[in-house]
Symmetry: C2
Subunit: 235 residues, 2 copies
Amino acid sequence: MTREAQIPSQSLAAMELFRGLPPSALESAAACARVRRLPKDMRLFNQGDDSVRAHAIIEGGVRIAQSGSDGAQVVIRFIGPAEMFGTVALFTDKRYPADAITLAETLEASWSEDELLGLMARYPQIAINVIRIIGKRLQEVQDRVRELATQRAERRVAHVVLRLARQAGHSTVDGTAIEFPLRRKDLADIAGTTLHTASRILTGWEKAGLLTSHNQQLTIRNTSELLRIAENAAD
Amino acid sequence: MTREAQIPSQSLAAMELFRGLPPSALESAAACARVRRLPKDMRLFNQGDDSVRAHAIIEGGVRIAQSGSDGAQVVIRFIGPAEMFGTVALFTDKRYPADAITLAETLEASWSEDELLGLMARYPQIAINVIRIIGKRLQEVQDRVRELATQRAERRVAHVVLRLARQAGHSTVDGTAIEFPLRRKDLADIAGTTLHTASRILTGWEKAGLLTSHNQQLTIRNTSELLRIAENAAD
DNA sequence: CGACGCGTTTGCGCTGGCGCAAACTGCTCC
DNA sequence: GGAGCAGTTTGCGCCAGCGCAAACGCGTCG
C-alpha cells in the first residue's frame, strides 16, 4: 500500500488549484509533490490531526466527513479527480477539520506546508485560486444550510444526487452514472437525514424509474424529473 | 445619509484582514478606502448584484441573508465590528451571494476590486489573511450543517445565542449583552427553525432565568447552563 | 457450499416542531 | 394621547420522518 508513483506533471494542469500558471510552475509543483496510490477505505487523515499537508486527487476519490463532540456525523463533501482538499487547515489552526477516507483505489498528490507556501510565494496566482475554490465551497455549504433549514428530506436527497451527478457523473447508455460507490448511509449523511429515510426515498425513485441502483452504483435515468423534485417550490 | 467620513487608519489595525501588516500598508489601505456612515435597515447590496466591493465594518453591524429560488430565507451570519464581508464574490463570479442589511447605524469601509487586488499584490499577507478568514467561516458553516442535520431546535438555538455572544458579546453588570438588535425572526432564520419555535424556546429560557430579552436586546445571565443545553449529547 | 457480515429494505408507532390563527405588547409618529 | 404597526407570545392540530426492530439480499471467505 501507499507506494510512491511517478510524477504526473500535466495532470496538475487540469486542477483548479493550478489554473492560470505557466508550465514551469506546474513542473515545480509536480517536482515537490508527494504522490501515492492508496487502497480503498484508507484513512488519509482524521479530524483533529495536526500534521497537515495540502492534498489533491488525481484518480479516484475521498469522502470528507465531520463528526461532532457527540458521535453525530455528516459527510461534508466528496472529492473527485482534479479537486484539492485539506488545504484550509494550513491557514487556520493546522488541524484537519474532518476525516478523509478513500472511496476506491485512489491516486493522491500532496504538498507540505513549506512547499505550498513556497509555491504560493513564487506564484501568487495560487493563493488567488485557493480563495476562489474555498469561496465556491463556502457558497455551496451555505446553500446546503438553506436547504437543510427549509426543505423536506426528499428535495434534499434529490439535490444531493444531482450535485453528485454534476460533480462525478459519467454518461453511459443507461444514463448518468456516478463514478464512486455510494452507500445509502453516505447519501443520508450528506443530505442530513437517516439511512432509513434515504433508503425509502431511493427505493421509491427506483420503482418510478427515475434511477437504478445496484451495488452502491447509482445511475440516473430521468434527470429532468429529479430536477423537478429538487426545484419544485410547492410541497 | 451615507455621508462620507474621515479615514480611521488605526481602526483597520484591529481587523483580521490586515493582520500582520506594516503601518505603511494600513495607511495605504485607509487611503483608498471608501468610508460611509449608514442608517439602520439600509441594504448595502442584494443577492445577485454584480458591482462588488470588499467591505468591512468599523462600528455597528450587518445581517447577511440568503434566499433561495423559492422564497425561503436563511441568515448566513451577522457581521460585527472589525469583520469583513462580501469579499469572496471578488474571486468567484463577481456577484454577491447574499443580501447585506444594516442592523443599526453603521460605519462601513469598502474597497473596489482594483484597490484590493492592488493591495494584495503589494502585501501578499492580505491574501493569506483572506484565506484564513474564509477558511474559518467555512468551518463554522460546516458546523452549522452538522447541527442542522443532527440536533434538535433547542440545541441549535442555544448554539446560535452562544456564538453571537462570543462574536459580539459585551459584558455588563447583568451578564453578557449582545450588541446589536436581534429579532426572534433573525434568531429563527439563523438557527434554521421558525419564528414561533424560536419564540417558545426563548420565552422558556427567560422564565428559567437563563437570559433576559427586552426590545430586541439579549442579555445572557447563565452562560454555563446554556452551554449545557448546547453540548449535552443526551436528548 | 454454507455461514457470516455488510448494506439495504420495510413495517410500525411516536413526537418534535411546523403551520395556521389570534391575541397581545410596546414603539413611533402624527 | 391614541392610532397604527412591527414584533412577540401562545394555543391547537397535524404529519414528516426519526427510532426501533426485524427480515432480507448479496458478495466474500474459510
